[in-house]
Amino acid sequence: MAVLVFAESDNGKYKKSSFEAVSYGKDLATQLGTSCFAITIGNKGSENLGKYGADKEFNVSGDAFESFNSQTYAKAISEVASSNDVDTIVISQTYSGKSVAPLVAVKTNSALVTGVVDMIDTSDGFKVKKTCFSSKAFSTVSVNHSNRAITLIPNSYQINEAGSDAEQVATNTAVTSSDIDAKIEATNKETGKIALTEAELVVSAGRGLKGPENWTMVEELAGVLGAATACSKPVSDMEWRPHSEHVGQTGITIKPNLYIAAGISGAIQHLAGVGSSKVICVINTDPEAPFFKAADYGIVGDAFEVLPKLIKRAKEIKGIA
């Protein structure tokens, strides 16, 4: 028996969530008294995953893996799982992870639990804590099956760097480019920006900012802090900001360490996507705005006055002129 972690890379760089997943896999394996294996596919990152706890690394490459395809990736993960006596598969809940996990679960006949936020309780069975009701609640799910696959929400687990180099195994699979089942017609990546789903710090704004021209303040604060930018639904509906920045029930769910919200009322559907952020700061002219109830820090004030003050102070702290 062993734990297998899919360590996802993007263009020769590991995603941060991959290190979280390997650290998680290692702690789970220790708890279960087994080994933690990692699988990398295609153009992988340069780190040795042993650092994060992998005991062995299976490196899969070939024509079939030049860009992400859920079918070829799922085949590779399932093959490595089956030929190495794996019973527990850990995948980060990124877009790719979400597409690949159900396919892997069927191929390996595993129970599937998605939206996992905490370490599994193996003291009595296999009990997994996951989000439900759009992050308005958590559930503890029991797995009653010997094979299982889980997807771990990014920013849910501490990265551990105590390990030492893992054995590298160049791994051949039966997957070929003829297994690619969907043709990529076009890709449009926003380069140079911090991906919202991966971001540890997020600065967000809503309709209270009055118009797209006022986002320079939001971008500047985010730039100084090294944060990603986000927005409420009406803001992306009105096309003040790109769709990819919309957070909430119908947008992206994020869980950063810091979420600063300016001019956002804090409707229940907005909170569904950001409510599990570790520290929430709210800036709103209306002292009755519902968002204050979910906040750690609140400023009743005009974003047009408050944001410049925050930018100024953040620059001083960072030593930026």
């Binding site: 129970a111 599937l112 799910v141 990546k189 769709h243 990819s244 919309h246 947008g251 400023i299 702290i317």
Partner: protein
């Protein structure tokens, strides 16, 4: 093109979530149930595609008789007929097995689901059904078109978007921006009453997981207010105390 849209019946988005029976059951008292918002988009887009290219749209729900009013609403939006697999949905794998079975029997070219159901948030069913049917999955599409037996879709990927094409049969999951959801009109509501709603029995499948208990997120320790005059203080707190940057 024969399209099957999977419709999950979920609590209204504004529902205050509470639990009963020692936090082991979701409290349905006073809760209004709706078509899962993403499924509403999938259904609308399916109708738009068949109106342009010809074909038919059916819906499927895995659920007990209490879901019928919501199924009728989906019929009122425009689906031709409905299948209800008469069993309580408990596990994504179980639900997917039911849908895959009906999709195979019905010979559908395209199966549409939502990106995720807003109650149990599995985001699982689309991929599970695709793999069980041994067909292509396109997950979280915000654009979808059909031409002959070619499907083209634009979907979210980490840090951007990509446009994919594949052949039918395939499974696509829908997310916001796919279309403007349609609202049933009076004529639709009248017609829905007499549309076929076929209740079928579940195929045997084991539940691999069970939801044992629920909890609400821990209450926040209360908000610490900072005077707008001294807004700078917020940055000091985040830097010195919380060590966030």
């Amino acid at each position: 093109m024969k399209i099957l849209v999977c419709v999950s019946v979920v609590p209204d988005t504004t529902t205050k979530i509470t639990f009963t029976d020692n936090d082991t059951q979701f409290n349905k008292a006073g809760v209004q149930f709706i078509i899962n918002p993403y499924d509403e988009l999938a259904l609308t887009r399916a109708l738009e595609i068949t109106e342009k290219n010809g074909g038919s749209v059916s819906i499927i729900t895995v659920g007990e008789a209490d879901t019928d009013p919501v199924i009728r609403k989906a019929l009122a939006i425009g689906a031709a007929d409905a299948i209800r697999v008469d069993v309580e949905p408990k596990d994504g794998m179980f639900v997917a097995a039911q849908i895959a079975e009906q999709a195979k029997q019905g010979g559908f070219d395209l199966v549409l689901t939502g990106r995720e159901s807003i109650d149990y948030n599995g985001g699982q069913v689309a991929g599970l059904v695709a793999e069980m049917m041994n067909v292509t999955l396109i997950n979280v599409a915000m654009e979808l078109d059909a031409e002959g037996n070619t499907i083209t879709a634009t979907r979210d990927i980490d840090g951007g978007r990509e446009t994919l094409s594949c052949n039918t049969p395939c499974v696509v999951s829908a997310q916001k921006d796919l279309c403007e959801p349609r609202i049933p009109n009076m004529r639709g509501i009248m017609m829905a009453r007499s549309k076929p709603l076929n209740v079928v029995e579940a195929v045997d499948k084991f539940n691999y997981t069970s939801f044992d208990s629920y909890e609400l997120p821990p209450a926040k320790g209360g908000v610490q207010m900072i005077d707008a005059e001294n807004a700078e203080e917020l940055m000091d707190l985040l830097h010195n105390e919380k060590k966030l940057f």
